[in-house]
């Protein structure tokens, strides 16, 4: 499986370019001189201690956070304060959150069809068919008429993935998708993500699941104090970390 995953095609086409990006919260310098290029089909895992800015980095990519310096280009669209560009990028980039953020007042099916109907202007029937297709893919088509509050955490996160996929995004961002889940539910979510990776989706995942990183990622990025400290292929990254900070981090999370 791991072999299979790393053999997946990465194209030369560029999906995301981040150039000298800086961000401050007030006077606090959260992200410092981030340079990152992501090719189409790449699966990138971003890890690092808490407060290192990894979530902030991927949230900058779909403009949930505003950056103050540098440029971010997603799929050829430059991220600026122009709302048209922001909306265009957001409809191309799917995102899964730590706390799922499903819409509790809508059924699972409505959660999945809302954005296609209103943003893409897809006819309702077609949107529902697409939604059922993706709900089947994440293996919960029978829950379609329920409300999010009636589902387990793992199921909710899979719905959240399906909801993003219904927009047919070209890039998926995952912000600690398994951190709020009970241990027995982590696997079902990771399996869904692995399946997605095998289909060639461009993915950026902030996660502490190092097994997932080894199996799926073709690049692991280590961040600390707002900087990208080290990035490498998973085998090299885990077996032969270069920076002392990476070594310390890995010994802490893999040591027990």
């Amino acid at each position: 499986m791991a072999e299979h995953a790393t053999q997946m095609q990465v194209s030369d086409e560029i999906a995301i370019t981040i150039n000298k990006m800086n961000k401050w919260y007030g006077t606090f310098h959260v992200l410092r001189d981030i340079d990152l290029t992501v090719n189409r089909g790449e699966r990138i895992v971003i890890c690092g201690p808490s407060g290192s800015g990894k979530s902030t980095l991927i949230r900058c990519i779909n403009a949930l956070e505003e950056h103050q310096q540098g440029t971010i280009e997603v799929d050829g669209t430059l991220l600026s304060s122009d709302l048209k560009n922001i909306d265009k990028i957001r409809s191309e980039v799917g995102m899964c959150f730590q706390h799922f953020n499903l819409f509790p007042h809508l059924t699972i099916l409505e959660n999945c069809t809302l954005a296609p109907i209103w943003v893409r202007k897809t006819p309702k029937k077609e949107a529902e068919e697409t939604a059922m297709h993706f709900l089947e893919k994440v293996k919960i088509p029978d829950q379609a008429m329920k409300y999010p509050g009636q589902l387990s955490g793992g199921q909710q996160q899979r719905v959240a993935i399906a909801r993003s996929l219904c927009m047919r995004p070209r890039i998926m961002l995952f912000d600690e998708p398994t951190s709020a889940l009970d241990p027995e539910m982590i696997k079902e979510v990771l399996d869904t993500m692995i399946e997605l990776a095998e289909e060639g989706m461009t993915m950026l995942c902030v996660t502490h699941e190092m097994g997932f990183a080894r199996q799926v990622a073709n690049r692991v990025i280590f961040m600390d104090a707002g900087q990208i400290v080290e990035q490498n292929e998973p085998e090299e990254f885990f077996n032969n970390p270069q920076s002392p900070r990476t070594q310390l981090f890995l010994s802490q999370i893999l040591g027990h």
């Binding site: 779909n62 957001r90 409809s91 959150f97 706390h99 007042h105 209103w118």
Partner: protein
């Protein structure tokens, strides 16, 4: 296996033993009484004291109510009939019934008009309040304000038709322009409506009301409980959308809009309603073009609406603040724009949280409509305090009249409160 069993055992019961009834002290009314009324000695004592109070109140109130006189021309006649007995004189209600409901100036032969408007109100409100009803009924809700205006005020039919055409024209312009930007659609729509109204205003001849099918009734003739209902329904239905707009404006990232909303809300909340009503009565005329003669009813509606809109805005702001930030982020990350995110994700949830607060304001507002009696409008309380109690026949009938007023308001307010509880249950999707 069951076969061998049946043959080898002497007796096998084929039916369930019926369940034995529980002992009388473990279920039924006796247990309920023991648990709830006489659980401890103190509990028992309090039960007895409470029973005594209920008896004391009912034993004096019930004969007063049940022995009431319903038919007499005046209080003096009432007392003659009672002949020293203590009982209510409800005759004032039957004798002044129309005045209590419609005021003392509304033409007698036109009472069917407010009556019909009242009945149609239920049909118009139904699809808004009960959203399981077919959506097509909303078409009637949309034209109801114009129908109700025509029924209540009468006069030339061109006025409500012109108003309707203006609103429809404004809405069409809004729909045409809103694709470009919301602001363009919004202000374009308002401008278009005003253009239609002004041009139409020139076209309607001044004496159009002279031979109207429904004779014109001026606003100062409106009164009684009808006036409370008119003010309550108009102001509640206007102040909810304005309150939503103010709450969203207060959260806006555009400083100008934000500060206009903050100043408006804080100013209105800092001023007593009665002051605003005096302003409506006396001062507001200065703000309108000279000679425009804006109706007192309209001025009062503006003031009460502003007042309750400010309160509703704060209630809704609480609902907005209670939503997790993740909901905004999820809506953003899916590419929904601001109006879509608000309309589809944020407001449905925030309004659901705000229902108890909004209903609280609505009930308070409905009761506050009686304050117009201090600026010499003859609403239900104004009618009682003025024309009825001041008349020689009924001077001194306080309990019956104010009890009746309390009952009418209670029925409406209790209805609103029951509706809101039903709505909360109906919208519950969190399955806690």
């Amino acid at each position: 296996m069951s076969d061998t069993h049946a043959h080898s055992v002497a007796f096998v019961r084929t039916q369930d033993v019926p369940m034995a009834p529980p002992p009388s002290n473990a279920a039924g009314p006796a247990k309920w009484v023991k648990d709830n009324l006489f659980a401890t000695p103190l509990n028992g004592l309090l039960t007895l004291v409470a029973l005594y109070f209920i008896y004391a109140i009912l034993s004096s109130a019930l004969p007063w109510i049940l022995g009431g006189i319903w038919n007499a021309p005046s209080l003096a006649a009432c007392r003659d009939i009672l002949d020293g007995a203590s009982a209510a004189c409800f005759a004032v209600l039957s004798e002044r019934w129309n005045q209590l409901l419609f005021g003392f100036q509304y033409p007698d032969d036109q009472y069917w008009r407010p009556g019909l408007a009242f009945i149609l109100l239920f049909i118009a409100a139904a699809p808004v309040l009960f959203f399981d009803l077919p959506r097509k009924l909303l078409a009637f809700t949309a034209i109801y304000p114009f129908v109700a205006y025509y029924l209540l005020w009468g006069g030339t039919i061109f006025v409500p038709i012109l108003a309707l055409v203006g609103v429809a024209g404004g809405f069409m312009v809004y729909q045409r322009l809103v694709a470009g930007s919301f602001a363009a659609g919004f202000f374009g729509g308002i401008a278009a409506a005003f253009v239609i109204w002004i041009i139409g205003g020139w076209l309607i001849p001044d004496d159009a009301s002279a031979n109207a099918m429904l004779p014109a009734v001026p606003s100062r003739y409106m009164g009684g409980f009808m006036l409370n209902m008119m003010l309550g329904v108009t102001c509640v239905s206007l102040s909810v959308p304005i309150g939503i707009a103010l709450a969203l404006g207060r959260q806006s990232s555009m400083p100008l809009i934000k500060w206009i909303c903050v100043i408006f809300i804080e100013f209105i909340r800092g001023v007593p309603l009665i002051t605003l009503l005096f302003v409506a009565n006396v001062m507001l005329a200065y703000f309108f073009p000279p000679g425009s003669g804006v109706d007192l009813f309209l001025r009062v509606v503006i003031m009460i609406t502003m007042f309750s809109a400010a309160y509703i805005a704060e209630v809704i702001r609480g609902g907005l603040a209670a939503l997790p930030k993740g909901q905004y982020e999820a809506a953003d990350s899916l590419g929904l724009d601001y109006p879509q995110a608000m309309r589809l994700i944020i407001l449905p949830q925030a309004l659901k949280i705000s229902i108890p607060g909004i209903v609280n304001v609505a009930v308070g507002l409905f009761k506050d409509t009686t304050l117009v009696s201090v600026i010499s409008m003859f609403d239900l309380v104004g009618m009682i305090r003025g024309p009825i109690l001041a008349s020689t026949e009924w001077n001194g009938v306080y309990w019956e009249l104010f009890g009746f007023a309390a009952l009418l308001f209670f029925i409406v307010c209790y209805g609103i409160s029951q509706y809101s509880q039903w709505l909360e249950r109906r919208l519950a999707t969190d399955h806690r």
